[in-house]
Amino acid sequence: MTARVVNLDSAHREVRDLLPWFVMGTLDEAEQRLVDEHLKACAACRGELEWERQLREANRVALPERDVDRAFAALRARLPAQPREVPLFERLRDLGERLLSPAWMRPMLALQAVAIVGLAVALWAGRMPAAAQEHTYRALSRPAAAEPARVVVAFTPQTSLGEMRRILLASDARIVDGPTAADAYILAIAPERLDAAVQRLRGESSVLLVQPLEAKAAQ
């Protein structure tokens, strides 16, 4: 008997706390059922429900409208100017073509294009940060020769020069080309440091994109 009273009481409290979202229809099905059942038996909660409806109505008051154009213009002035109308895919493709134009690199074009398309797809799908990225890059192989590896990086538009410099120094990287039309830079990194550098670059919050480019050894 006592146990049953306690149960009823805790059910009452649970339902009472859920009533605002019950009135709004934002509970899940099981909760909705729980409240429905309890309301049949509890006059207090039914009274509470009436009050909830009043609250909901009272909160529907309209506020004066604001000028979105003016507000956006104010914010726009604070954001860095950067016309970026070209879709990412085209930017990456152009970048790939530019990088791969020397004759000796031409055989790699197809392979590289596949990697770049894969990257673009991963970006569009929003799976860049974790698994997809790891997966994509493992498919590319490392250079056999001791000449520097090349890596494409893009920084967030807000990255300062000082920050960029710090990141480059920390990664043992030199800029060898860029900024490209796509606002990316090509870094040269000693092959034996490539893995560590790529990992480090990917850990930087102001680095948007890290793409090792060497595919020579794959041939």
Partner: protein
């Protein structure tokens, strides 16, 4: 959308801005009840959205993420202007009931006004729960995410807000209800 914004796509950003403007302005105004600060807080919020879009991890809805930023910015603005966020004893602001006339339409309007004033007298985090629940139609789990607090805290805040509203409303009004 946030992925395009992360890459600096200004058109995507403007679309998002316009889509959220009215909802966010309202949420900020109801949470802070500082109309003069609303646009500044809103633009601070959207500035963070534009610069941190690449940090958005899809574990929550985009709207939850954006409202969470707006909530933090609202609380910060209140602290900056020394408006208490937690303190809950604004009882001086009890609405005046003498103005109520016993005619239906008038009564309804008065009731709304009084309830609105009563909500204004709550603390900022209580106002935020009320606004998110009744106007933005968010469930309590989403509200917990936005406010960065446990689900139980949301329920407790809501319960206290309701109790306080009742206490703030004069007896005569309770009869009307």
């Amino acid at each position: 959308m946030l992925e395009r914004i992360a890459r600096g796509d200004m058109r995507a950003f403007e679309t998002l801005y316009r889509a959220y403007f009215a909802r966010l302005a309202r949420f900020i105004e109801r949470t802070t009840r500082r109309p003069e600060l609303v646009e500044e807080i809103l633009n601070d919020t959207m500035f963070v959205v534009s610069t941190s879009a690449h940090k958005f991890n899809r574990t929550s809805k985009a709207s939850t993420w954006i409202f969470a930023i707006a909530y933090r910015k609202s609380l910060k603005a209140l602290r900056d202007v020394d408006d208490p966020v937690e303190a809950d004893d604004a009882l001086e602001a009890v609405p005046d009931t003498d103005a109520i006339e016993p005619r239906d339409e008038v009564m309804r309007t008065q009731l709304r006004r009084i309830l609105t004033e009563a909500v204004d007298a709550l603390s900022a985090n209580h106002r935020a729960v009320i606004e998110l629940t009744y106007f933005q139609e968010a469930g309590y789990r989403e509200i917990a995410e936005i406010m960065g607090c446990p689900i139980e805290t949301v329920k407790t805040r809501m319960f206290h807000a309701r109790r306080r509203l009742k206490a703030l409303l004069p007896e005569r009004l309770e009869d009307i209800l």
